[in-house]
């Protein structure tokens, strides 16, 4: 069955082609069937292939299925880049949850999008996205990964701009695309460095060379790692390229759940984990990853504190959780990072789908126009509560295990290696507190108290609640695959995920290590510490929003610090800063170069004629017209100004010749100076 691994991305592609190229002629029922079946088939096939691979080869040996040779790098044949898919521990994990969560989100979309225009287009894009995402994770070389990488970016762009009648989604789509391109630029530079220094782009070959002689690549590995990390910050919305993700919420909610929470945004973490050998070769790169991750986590969480749009709260929490993952990767705990990717996919997808259900019912995104929904929307309520508990880090829910593992890894890293990492631990702990607080703030505001909106909210249709139930139960259970060491000793349950992902991070002499051990007592202390932090956050939310139905306390607080609230609410004005600098700067630059082309050169030319009286007089001697003009002083001045103004917009062939000759002159002069 593993032989058919290539069908896993292929099915959604077929779905896309079928739906996409019949345009709007295919009836909705067929679209739903094709759209969901294609992903369903890849889910079944994906799981089948993984099981088959585990049974026949074991998780230590990657399985590669080559379709055809894509691109040669050298004239020698073995160094060709194939169009090939690779099944190993990392890609198996990704395939498993991408197809599973993706399938349920497709089901959900049937209900959510039922009354929307462009139903076919939506499913076509969604299927195309699944194809790109699965290509990304299954690729056996960097170039193919880049195909998927660009593909998911394109789909994300198309889906964010789905409601194209409105200006905001269209702009947000463009923002997402451009910010992602900046990240991709880093990734691409990294790929070129790999190609030039290793002569190949296949994971197996690149990493084999690196493992065989890490010393030879120490310098370049750091540069490559940083380039790749730039790509990761773009795709996974880390500082400073996170700005596109909150705006991406303009897309339909299932898209936010699938692309901007569960799958695409974690591609950066996946890539860093995939390339862990590069990062481990450079302590600087690792430190950069860890610090960026920790700062993003804290920064985004603090921005989530004051948002009123339910999807924006979730968006900032996604950024913050992604920061956590990078923090884990930065301290070398790649398996832990992937574990959090895994659990996060479930509870964050569930949260987004839940918010979609709420929006569907209340027709608003504003949490202050919801409230008291606990009674009317029972399924949505309990699934939302489950996933909120998971993200807050309450024991036995999935988020607790992965988050605790991250905190423990950071602590252990600080203890064993670098004392400064205690600071990161502190940041992560504060973030955990904030997360618990703002998530329960959301929960209390939306589900408790009185209903503050208009209309009559009702529970969503079955096709929407079923995925909620599945993912809700998932966010309760999936954490059990990665229990902490102490508990694993106590109850004799193995830490499945760590074992499974072990081949991902081979121990290599000269590269940073990836596993740390804490004493049992220390681990217990940390576990209780993180539970305490989570409970503290929840308690504060309860005290401010549940125990105080009039919200007097929080109102008094914002009244006391208006500026702080405003700053946080406006997301620290980062968008405004970018608009003023980067975006504005580029436009200005291009305008300036346009002006240079048309104006400055010509202006200089004319300036030389007009600016100096001497030249003007000289030209007057030769030119009757100017002498005439000079007699009528005013008329001349008038014409001169008009002339100059007109000249700024050139189009005159002599100016072009002039610039040409100037180019020749300067080029000759350059060589005259050099010699």
């Amino acid at each position: 069955m593993k032989e058919y691994i290539y069908l896993v991305p292929l099915f959604p592609l077929l779905g896309f082609l079928l739906i996409g190229f019949t345009w709007s002629r295919m009836p909705r029922k067929w679209v739903s069937i094709i759209g969901c079946t294609s992903v369903g088939l890849s889910t079944v096939l994906g799981f089948g292939a993984i099981i088959d691979w585990l049974l026949t080869m074991g998780s230590h040996h990657p399985f590669v299925k080559t379709l055809y040779v894509w691109l040669p790098l050298k004239t020698a044949v073995p160094l060709d880049i194939p169009f090939a898919f690779q099944l190993d521990a990392l890609s198996a994990l990704m395939v498993a949850f991408v197809t599973f969560v993706g399938f349920w989100i497709h089901i959900y979309s049937m209900g959510y999008m039922a009354h929307e225009e462009g139903y076919n287009r939506f499913f076509a894009y969604l299927n195309l996205f699944m194809f790109a995402m699965l290509t990304l994770v299954l690729a056996d070389n960097f170039l193919l990964m880049f195909v998927g990488w660009e593909g998911v970016g394109l789909c994300s762009y198309l889906l964010i701009g789905f409601y194209y009648q409105e200006k905001w989604p269209a702009d947000s789509g463009k923002k997402a695309f451009i910010v992602n391109r900046i990240g991709d630029f880093g990734f691409l530079v990294g790929i070129f460095f790999i190609a030039t220094h290793f002569g190949t782009l296949r994971y197996e070959e690149v990493f084999a060379k690196l493992q065989a002689d890490p010393g030879a690549y120490l310098g370049v590995a750091g540069i490559i790692a940083l380039c790749l990390f730039v790509g990761a910050t773009g795709k996974s919305a880390q500082l400073p390229l996170y700005v596109w993700l909150p705006d991406a919420m303009a897309g339909p909610t299932p898209v936010s759940a699938l692309i901007h929470a569960a799958t695409m945004v974690t591609a950066g973490v996946y890539m860093v984990a995939r390339c862990n050998l590069f990062f481990r070769a450079s302590p600087t790169a690792m430190a950069v990853v860890a610090v960026v991750g920790a700062l993003t986590a804290l920064f985004a969480a603090s921005m989530g504190l004051a948002q009123t749009d339910i999807k924006k709260v979730l968006a900032y929490s996604t950024i913050s959780q992604l920061g956590y993952m990078f923090l884990a990767a930065g301290v070398g705990a790649y398996a832990v990072a992937m574990f959090h990717v895994f659990t996060h996919a479930f509870f964050k997808a569930c949260l987004f789908l839940g918010s979609g259900s709420l929006i569907h019912a209340c027709h608003t995104n504003d949490i202050f126009e919801m409230g008291g929904l606990k009674k009317v929307m029972k399924t949505t309520h309990w699934t939302f509560l489950f996933s909120t508990l998971a993200i807050a880090g309450i024991p036995i829910w999935a988020g607790f295990f992965s988050k605790d593992a991250i905190l423990a890894s950071v602590f252990a890293f600080a203890q064993h290696h670098h004392g400064w990492a205690y600071l990161l631990y502190g940041l992560a702990a504060v973030t955990a507190f904030m997360t618990a607080f703002y998530m329960f703030r959301l929960y209390f505001i939306v589900f408790h108290g009185e209903y503050r909106g208009h209309g009559h909210p009702h529970e969503s249709p079955r096709s929407m609640t079923l995925p909620l139930q599945v993912l809700g139960i998932g966010s309760l259970l999936v954490g059990l695959v990665g229990v902490p060491a102490v508990i694993s000793h106590l109850f004799h349950v193995p830490n499945v995920i760590e074992k499974f992902l072990h081949p991902l991070t081979p121990e290599v002499e000269g590269l940073a290590e990836t596993t740390f051990h804490l004493s049992d007592s220390m681990e217990w202390i940390l576990i209780f510490g993180s539970i305490l932090i989570a409970c503290g956050g929840i308690a504060l939310a309860w005290w401010l929003y549940k125990a105080d139905p009039e919200w007097k306390r929080i109102k008094a607080f914002t009244a006391a610090f208006p500026r702080l609230h405003k700053t946080v609410f406006n997301k620290y004005y980062v968008d405004e800063f970018y608009d003023a600098t980067a975006v504005g700067g580029t436009i200005k630059l291009s305008k300036a170069s346009a002006a240079f082309d048309q104006g400055v050169i010509d202006g200089t030319v004319n300036g030389m004629r007009h600016a100096t009286v001497g030249t003007s007089l000289l030209s007057g001697f030769f030119d009757l017209r100017v002498v005439d003009g000079a007699v009528n002083g005013l008329a001349w001045l008038n014409k001169f100004c008009g002339d100059l103004f007109r000249r700024v917009q050139t189009g005159v062939v002599q100016n072009y010749v002039f610039v040409f000759a100037l180019g020749v002159f300067l080029s000759l002069g350059l060589y005259l100076l050099l010699k």
């Binding site: 010509d602 200089t604 030319v605 004319n606 030389m608 004629r609 007009h610 030249t615 000289l618 030209s619 030769f622 030119d623 017209r625 100017v626 002339d643 000249r647 005159v652 002599q654 100016n655 002039f658 000759a661 100037l662 020749v664 002159f665 000759l668 002069g669 005259l672």
Partner: protein
């Protein structure tokens, strides 16, 4: 100073004079006559370098052919309105500076080229039996293909010239 040098300086001066005339004189027709002066001087300079055929071609093709087309065109389009307008583009001071600069930089490169004693054309021409014969040898043996292509080029020029001149009627 030999006679050879005297002739060189004379014709060089005339060529430059003609060139300045092309750029500076008001009427295109004056410019064309000025160019004729340059062309003839250059033909003379060709002779001084032993390129008899080229000198003849210069007079026949350039002075006879090309310049005739120019005069024709001048008669046709540009005779009347010229006097009222300024003849130079406003960028002219800068352009003159640049042109002088260009010539100066070129001279800086060309003044002391690492060239040895000139070989002269004696040997090559003697082998073929004269200037024209030597030229034909190279032209029709080595450069046969470009020679054929240049005939296509002239066809394009002819067809294109006729086409363009026949268009442009205001719609």
């Amino acid at each position: 100073m030999t006679v050879h040098a005297l002739f060189f300086y004379l014709f060089a001066a005339l060529a430059l004079l003609g060139a300045v005339g092309v750029v500076a004189l008001r009427q295109p027709i004056q410019g064309a006559v000025s160019l004729l002066l340059t062309l003839l001087s250059v033909a003379a300079l060709f002779l001084l370098r032993g390129a008899e055929f080229l000198a003849a071609a210069q007079i026949v093709i350039y002075a006879g052919g090309i310049l005739a087309i120019f005069l024709f065109a001048i008669m046709f389009v540009a005779y009347r309105e010229e006097e009222k307008r300024r003849r130079w583009h406003p960028q002219w001071p800068a352009a003159v500076v640049l042109g002088l600069g260009l010539a100066a930089t070129l001279l800086a490169f060309l003044l002391r080229p690492a060239l040895g004693v000139p070989a002269g054309l004696g040997a090559a021409q003697a082998a073929a039996g004269g200037n024209t014969e030597a030229l034909a040898e190279v032209l029709f043996r080595t450069y046969l293909v470009p020679f054929e292509v240049i005939s296509l080029f002239l066809i394009v020029a002819m067809v294109g010239g006729i086409l363009m001149a026949s268009w442009g009627v205001k719609r």
